[in-house]
Every structure is written in C-alpha cells, then in structure tokens.
Amino acid sequence: MNQLLKQFGTQSGGSTAWIWQRITGLVLVIALFLHYLFLHFLNGGNVTYGEVSGRLAMPLWKTIDITFLTAALYHSVQGVIMNIHDYVHRAMLRVTLVSITWVVGLILWITGIATVIAIKSL
C-alpha cells in the first residue's frame, strides 16, 4: 500500500508530464500572442463585452479559446504538482494535495468550457 502511495501521482516517472508541460508551454506562447493581439491591440485596447462575445460566438474562436484554456490549465496544474513533488515528501499528504490540484483544475476546465460553448453573439 505504502509503495502504491509512493508511486501515486508520479505519472510514468514524470517524462509524460514533462513533455506535455513543454507542448502546452508552446501552445500558450502562441495563444497568448493571439489573445493580446486581438483583445488589446487590434481594437485599440477597447475591450467590451459585446466585442468579446461577438468573437467568441464564432466556432474558430471557440476552438482557439478552448485550446488556450486547456493548455493554460494543464500547464498550471502541472506546475503546482511539480512544486508539490519538490517539497512534499510525506506520501499521504502528497497524494491528497496532488488529487485536490487535479480536481480543482478539472472543475475550472469544465466551467471554462461550458462558458465558452454557451456564449452567443449579443
């Protein structure tokens, strides 16, 4: 049991999480660039609900923002888990903290996706 707990949350040793952390990092660079470009520069920095919801009503933007959300959440959840693995060495506490982080990440992801999908143009 203790052995099982020790391994829990380590994800095939860590290489899978590590490579996805890099991939989502790359996605974030592109998505953040698009986000800033369209939200803060191209419209003269004039962010309004109507303008944002108008864009988010388009399937292409829904896809871009869902990708953005997924990458950002995966990247941050993995970042927090990385810190937990760095500092928490008591197996039971680590399992609890890693689980809480995943659950919070999942709830945020579902909420975010539901919002993006539901948005219609004003």
């Binding site: 380590t10 095939s12 860590g14 290489s15 899978t16 490579i19 990385m82 760095d86």
Partner: protein, 234 residues
Amino acid sequence: MAKRTFKIFRFNPETDEKPSYKTYEIDVQPAWTILDVLNEIKWFQDGTLTYRRSCRHGICGSCAMMVNGINNLACELQIATMKKDPIVIDPLPGFEIYKDLAVNMDPFYEALKRVKPWLINNDPAPSRERLQSQEEFALMGNSIACILCAACTSSCPSFWTDGEYLGPAALLKAFRYTFDTRDHGLDQRIEALDNKHGLWRCHKITNCFTACPKNLNPTEAISKLQKRIVEEKL
C-alpha cells in the same frame, strides 16, 4: 606574507548543542590555497578542526566545501584571488554534518549507485579495446572529467528539498554512459532516471554549473538526457 581572517564553521554533534563559527587569523603565503590554511590551523594552531582532503591536486574530490557562499575545492582555491575579509568556510550544504567541515556523503554515493555508473555491454568483448571514433567520443563532452567531489549536488536546491533526488553528479554520470556509444545500458538505468526523484526534479537552476570546480555543465547534460528519455518513451 599577509594576515587574513578566516571564519570557519565548527560543530561537534557529540558535544555542541548548535553549530558556531570560529575565527582564525593566519599569516598567508602568496601561493596558498584554502587547504593550506586549513592545514596550517590543524597542524599548528587547533588540532580539533576536522575536514577531508587527500590528493591536494584537485583530482580526488575529497576537499569540496563552501567558501564565501560558493562550493569549491579547498586545494584549488587560491587565497590571493579572494579580496573579501573574513573568508567564510562552511561544509557542503545539504548533507548531514559529521564534524566541522566533514559531511555524510552516503546519499551522494547512493544516488550514484542508482544510475549504475559503469559500462553495460553484454556483447562478447573484442580481443582488444572497444574502439570509438573521435566523433563518438565527443558525444560525451567533458563529462568524463568529473571527479565526484559533490560540489554540484550539494549546491542544488532540488537536492536540498528532496534528499533522494539523484542530483547533478549522478545525472552527469548517467549522461556519460548513455551517450557513450559502447554502452547498451539505458533500459537498465531508465527506471532510476524517469522517476519522481530522477531527471524531472531538475529545474535548470544552474547552481551546479556555477559550483563545478572542473567547469563541467551538469545542467546541459541533464537537458540532453531529458530529451533522450522523452525520445525513448515516444
């Protein structure tokens, strides 16, 4: 001869409640290293001072310690290069203290053993040596020059928080064999490397690179090893 002041970490777990620093004023000769100063103290002023040394030529790796906040080899570090006074000498951080500057290196050697630091190749041995071309040899870089002094591992914050972390020295050793074209042992090492206490604990802090008295770059080696393991897994 110049008079210099040295503040040296002292702790005897059998008699002292907590560590303290003791200050020594030493007449230093122009070409002296930190090790010369420690010998001067031990042999002529205070025989209770404890530290490790052996070769005095920067090759055995015994005399690594922290001088003015940076890990280094006592026998290579010239006093004349240090302007600041007093010069503060501490044991290698991150290890249990045996006495004064001598630390318990067991976790360092345990980590080293986990990466199987020897050539793994079950092919029948050729009648002469297993040849390598210059290009093949170059793949290992200068990692073969590591003297296992532990200056790098002891400077690594990931090692401070996780005493079971392999650490830069063991990972550099794993790199040295993984990128040795004569070695076939990656599948035997991968469990230790692709592990919670393995490669992925490195956050590229580069303290190891700053600390290494042989100017080796464990951080770069770890990056190459990470890429190699990921390719292996894909």
